[in-house]
Assembly symmetry: C2
């Protein structure tokens, strides 16, 4: 880990990393395989203990790996990574064994964590799967308990995103359909005390 901009995010503020609704990358590894996929349907579920949901289709190898390993990471990619995100979200490791190499994704690990994570993202949320067979089978819905969270302090620090102060290439991307996305836009605030 040679990026000196990485900083830990308190678990009780981890929800702020995805409450604005970005498309995320989901990464995981088991004893055989490592995979990363894109997911537009990820969401915070609880403040404390911090939890998240993510919808993982049965056609994805990442889902199978998470079922085997019990761990996954959600990470917030940036506009600079758009082509890689699209590739990771449209190619399956089941069909393309060389997917990881073809995508150009570079992985690393945070200290004391076996979950592979993606270089160059804006934030990372490490999760332990809370097994819920009904939700997983019936709804493709996976629930994770957040066990650690990190951000790149150039774009998220002091508990807040600073998207409005950085170059466009740092912006989060928000999927619509097919190859169509929006970046996050301008900061707007209510003149009221912070809750």
């Amino acid at each position: 880990m040679t990026n000196f901009h990485l900083q830990s995010v308190p678990l009780e503020k981890a929800y702020r990393l995805i409450t604005h609704g970005p498309t995320v990358l989901v990464s995981a590894q088991d004893q055989q395989d490592t995979d990363v996929m894109a997911a537009a349907w990820a969401c915070a579920l609880e403040f404390s203990p911090a939890k998240v949901t993510v919808v993982l289709d049965k056609s994805t190898k990442t889902r199978n790996i998470i079922e085997n390993s019990g761990y996954f990471a959600l990470q917030i990619p940036t506009l600079k990574q758009l082509n890689m995100v699209y590739y990771l979200g449209t190619q399956s490791l089941y069909d393309v064994p060389e997917k990881m190499a073809q995508s150009g994704v570079e992985l690393f690990h945070f200290p004391d964590a076996d979950i592979p994570v993606v270089q160059g993202c804006a934030a990372w949320i490490l999760c332990e799967l809370i097994p819920e067979p009904h939700n997983q089978q019936m709804h493709d819905l996976f629930i994770g308990k957040v066990i650690a969270a990190y951000s790149d302090d150039r774009v998220f620090r002091d508990g807040h995103w600073h998207y409005h102060e950085v170059d466009e290439e740092w912006k989060s991307i928000h999927h619509v359909a097919g190859g169509h996305f929006y970046t996050i836009g301008n900061a707007v605030s209510i003149d009221a005390p912070e809750s």
Copy 2:
């Protein structure tokens, strides 16, 4: 309904209304009460039959009304509605009986639907609750089957958002924390066929 810009959205494209992760308004009515709240944790769950999830805290009257009535609407507010959204999201009908009047919200109904919806939004997703006691009690997680969807064709038409062609006041808002939000930003596309 005097807004001639309202158009029906095919159910199989309803997911596109929230896949970009906006903060939504949740509306519902039972035989006693009508309430509208804001929710940042809403997400698409399935393409077809279209389904959505939304996290509804036990402290909200809206949740109680949905449990009674079995129906709710998610709607995508615009930047123009920011102050109203914040008020609806921070005041509870349990504490403020005059919340609806104070908020300035104006409600209407789509044809053949008993669910009250909010004037001036960019899109509306009418849902029938799929009762899941475990998810509701354990996770505050509510699942809705989409029974109808509509948009204002000035900002969503032909299956796509046109945020990049409209005034800033039409933009979706994306909550971070407290009174802090981002608007949606610029359209970016991959040069690939649409899936």
